[in-house]
Amino acid sequence: MLYFLRKTGLFVLTLWAAVTLNFLIPRLQPGDPAEAIVQKLAGQAQQVDPEQIRAIRLMLGVPDTSLWNQYWDYLNALVHGNFGLSYGYFPYSVTHMIAEALPYTLTLVGVTQIIAFVAGTGLGAWAAWRRNTKIDSFISLGSTFLSTLPFFWIALMLIYVLANTLHWFPEGGAYSGEIVPAFSSGFVADLAYHAVLPALALLITGSIGWILGMRNNMVQSLGSDYTRLAVAKGLKERRVAWTYAARIALLPNFTGFAISLGGVFGGTLIVEQIFSYPGMGKLMYDAIGNRDFPLLQAIFLITTVAVLLANFLADVLVGVLDPRVRRQSS
């Protein structure tokens, strides 16, 4: 019990630190968003009128109070889920922009991460169980080979073969313009159809780490005394493989998985770029270009909180799964 209390305490503390840093760091950065907006409106070569800049500042509500007051306002706004207005997509609010992008990322990357983990771990366990056979060589050599290929190349090959040549799937986008975005079966099917290629690209590269990690862990646990004793006990093969060998080999992979789930919220920039997918990665990329501080801050905050939360859940779950961890820290 103490283990879980301690982990909760640690989580709250790091959360506060992250929130505070998220407030401080953008304010230490050089550059003026108002200037950037005016410059964008006026064009690169034009001279900028200081009056215009002042007007934009007033419009955006750039703060002129002390840092301390700003901090309190910031915390207050956070509690109410109010991240302010986007500088780049004015007059839309930050919350609105994120709500537009997040579902795409969450479904695409989230679902593929889970499938990649389950499939990768399963394949890795299978390779380890049949170690030094053809199946093992095929799985481990194949995944080692794939892991040497750059991700964007795999993605481009998928587009070239499956979209350009065979025309099975669209080249990019999250949905075709013909169907009105709504919660209709037609739209969902259209979304899924568009998601196949980016998902495939993510699955191929995402599962490699889990395959190799699981195989190596499990080869080790298969050679351990407790697994050998389980065989000597005359347990059924399935029981030896899962309860003795895989159960323990899974633990280190599991932590990695929980943490990678947290990263989902940040989106995957390269996938979204290649498949022109309107997710969080692209949103963040554009926000950086626009010096859209409120939006950036919100994205960073969401990503950080998600990673922290995932870490926390991983700690708790590993605590449940592995009795040794519970004792060591209590």
Binding site: S224, D225, Y226, R228, A232, G234, R239, T243, P323, R324
Partner: protein
């Protein structure tokens, strides 16, 4: 089958078994060579051998747990007439545990760390439900009663149990389905003597009441000889002797058996005489033609180099003996040679002792205390590891610090080397209190005190050569440069018996045997020209036949270099051999001190008596057996 008949029928028959390790990258290594033996119901068979002799491979073969690289090239393994290598997998699975079960070495690793004790025991019932039928009257609770473990521990995880408890759980687990044969693979290695004694006596009681047969694999000669009805001695993949234990102890046996027994004695005896076998077992890559032991055997003749070494089959009152040695006659001649010819087997250990109180005091420890505090939630617990310990170390003499694991002996060693600070009390070396030293002065101090570690396999950096390892203290502490370093390295290598130095200087640790590595560790300690050496269980990881050799090296070097040694051990026999003075440590306190002979032969404190009585003594326990050694040899000749 009639009951009388089934007693005589062996339950396990191994016929002409050969096992090789195969590898794509090197020649096959034959690790089991033409091994054949039988185990009868209820028999307690010991399998004794040094590391690399193939005894564990043989145990794994019987359990059918060989690693994929091990290949049975020929031979049969029959369990009640069924060949375990060829029966269908499902039959084998059902046979496992209900007929043959096992207890592995007492390492942390043999119980699944994420399952409770109960879950692991009940797994057995789940797997064998219906298969072993009436045999399953034993419950998990009852099995724990058999080994005297409280039922509450059923819901514990393995890491919450001590080493001894884990091993008793493993013992309880092995009898769950009342098997007919249990294979024990080094079951008490790593446990201290007192715990070992309690587990072994428990095993003996269980075996007598449940009547299962035991194959007890160990390198621990005393334990095997004391426990077993019959012993098999393995050397370089062969069973060189298979005899009733009483006959093996009789003084007429395979020269290797004699050699092993020579390195064993009871530390309580007034006079002890230790002999050791010089040299190392052959590499399994190139086992010599003829008798594999011939190169180390003082009695070897030309006949021993012939390809075919006969196995003498001899009947003695205690049972049947098989000895693979030319000394034991064929059917035509006298089967047993005279006991006197074995007097020359092995080499007498040569150790010197200093008079008690001789030599100047180089280290004085006064009222030493060390307390570790741990916080568990709001609870603050203090663990007193060392309490009020005081002693002196003298130049050229060896002081043994003896105690069970957890008695605080390693902590004292760590304080002495300046790795840890005492909570109170002083350690004075050359007029300076070690506890008060900082950085530079501590570094200077460390050149005066050197440590020899227990595990030579971990104490050397695997990536640097022997010469480099020894040169570091020369450069760091003694500020030698260039050719001086090289000359000094060679001189020190010669001192620890690694000659010629040119052959060892550039080798990497993995190219050396355990004994050679420990010599390198000793050489490295010597290189700093220390005044004090702290040797923490320096021989406990080594094979029996090398131990005496290393002890001799240690002994000689301390005497001739005028070094004061603190010899930390749980092994009273080695303390008897090397030490001038003994300190017995129990729960952080010194309970008895005195000269070695005095402490071991006129023991006063109960704890020392307990330690001494926990040491297996095969000769003692067999004194009541009717077949006294002398009688057995004469009657066999008749």
């Amino acid at each position: 089958m009639p009951a009388a008949n089934s007693i005589d029928e062996p339950i396990l028959t191994v016929k002409d078994l050969n096992i090789s390790f195969v590898s794509k990258y090197r020649d096959d290594r034959q690790v089991i060579r033409n091994v054949g033996f039988e185990i009868r119901p209820g028999e307690f068979v010991g399998l004794l051998g040094e590391s690399g002799s193939g005894k564990s491979t043989l145990g794994n073969a019987i359990l059918n747990l060989l690693t994929p690289t091990a290949r049975v090239t020929s031979g049969e393994l029959l369990y009640r007439g069924r060949n375990l290598f060829t029966i269908p997998a499902e039959d084998l699975r059902i046979l496992r545990w209900s007929e043959i079960s096992t207890v592995f070495q007492s390492s942390m690793a043999s119980l699944n760390p994420v399952m409770t004790v109960r879950a692991q025991m009940e797994d057995v019932f789940a797997a064998h439900r219906g298969a072993s039928g009436a045999k399953r009257e034993m419950t998990v609770e009852k099995s724990l009663d058999l080994v005297s473990i409280d039922h509450k521990y059923l819901d514990f995880y393995p890491h919450q149990l001590s080493g001894g408890m884990k091993q008793r759980v493993a013992l309880a687990m092995s009898v769950l389905l009342s098997p007919d044969l249990i294979v024990f693979d080094e079951p008490t290695t790593g446990l201290d003597v007192v715990v070992q004694k309690s587990i072994l006596s428990r095993l003996k009681t269980l075996q007598e009441s449940m009547k299962f047969a035991v194959l007890f694999i160990s390198h621990d000669l005393g334990t095997v000889m004391e426990m077993a009805d019959r012993v098999m001695i393995m050397y370089a993949g062969e069973v060189v002797e298979n005899s009733p234990a009483a006959d093996a102890l009789s003084g007429v046996a395979h020269p290797y058996t004699i050699g092993l027994l020579g390195s064993y004695a009871d530390p309580r005896d007034a006079e002890i005489n230790i002999r050791y076998i010089p040299g190392r077992p052959p590499s399994l890559d190139s086992v010599p033609v003829g008798c594999a032991f011939a190169d180390r055997c003082g009695l070897a003749t030309q006949e021993c180099r012939e390809p075919k070494i006969p196995t003498a089959e001899i009947d003695s009152p205690a049972g049947h003996r098989s000895i693979k040695c030319v000394l034991f006659g064929s059917e035509t001649s006298d089967p047993l040679p005279a006991p006197t010819i074995f007097d020359e087997v092995g080499q007498q250990i040569d150790v010197h002792h200093a008079a008690l109180g001789a030599g100047e005091v180089v280290c004085r420890v006064e009222d030493l205390n060390k307390t570790y505090s741990t916080r568990k939630g709001l609870k603050h617990t203090e663990n007193h590891a060392v309490i009020g310990v005081g002693f002196e170390l003298r130049k050229g003499s060896v002081t043994a610090l003896v105690g069970q694991s957890g008695s605080g002996k390693t902590t004292i060693g760590r304080i002495l080397t300046g790795v840890e600070k005492p909570s109170s009390g002083t350690v004075t070396v050359a007029g300076v209190d070690v506890g008060s030293l900082k950085r530079r002065t501590l570094r200077n101090y460390r050149s005066k005190v050197q440590l020899i570690f227990q595990d030579p396999f971990q104490a050397l950096n695997p990536a640097s050569s022997v010469g480099y390892a020894i040169s570091r203290p020369l450069v760091n502490h003694r500020k030698l440069r260039g050719s001086e370093v090289r000359e000094e390295v060679d001189r020190i290598l010669g001192q620890v018996g690694l000659t010629p130095p040119s052959e060892y200087r550039d080798r990497l640790p993995h190219e050396l045997s355990g004994g050679q590595r420990q010599r390198v560790v000793i050489a490295r300690a010597l290189a700093a020209q220390p005044e004090i050496i702290v040797a923490d269980e320096p021989i406990s990881m080594l094979d029996v036949s090398i131990r005496a050799e290393i002890l001799q090296v240690l002994n000689e070097l301390t005497r001739s270099n005028g070094i004061a040694m603190l010899y930390i051990t749980h092994d009273l026999l080695s303390a008897r051999l090397i030490a001038d003075e003994i300190l017995v440590l129990h729960e952080g306190k010194i309970v008895e001190t005195g000269s070695t002979n005095q402490v071991l032969t006129q023991t006063r404190h109960d704890y020392t008596k307990l330690l001494l009585s926990s040491i297996p003594n095969p000769w003692q326990s067999r004194r009541n057996v009717p077949s006294i050694p002398a009688a057995s040899s004469t009657s066999a000749r008749a």
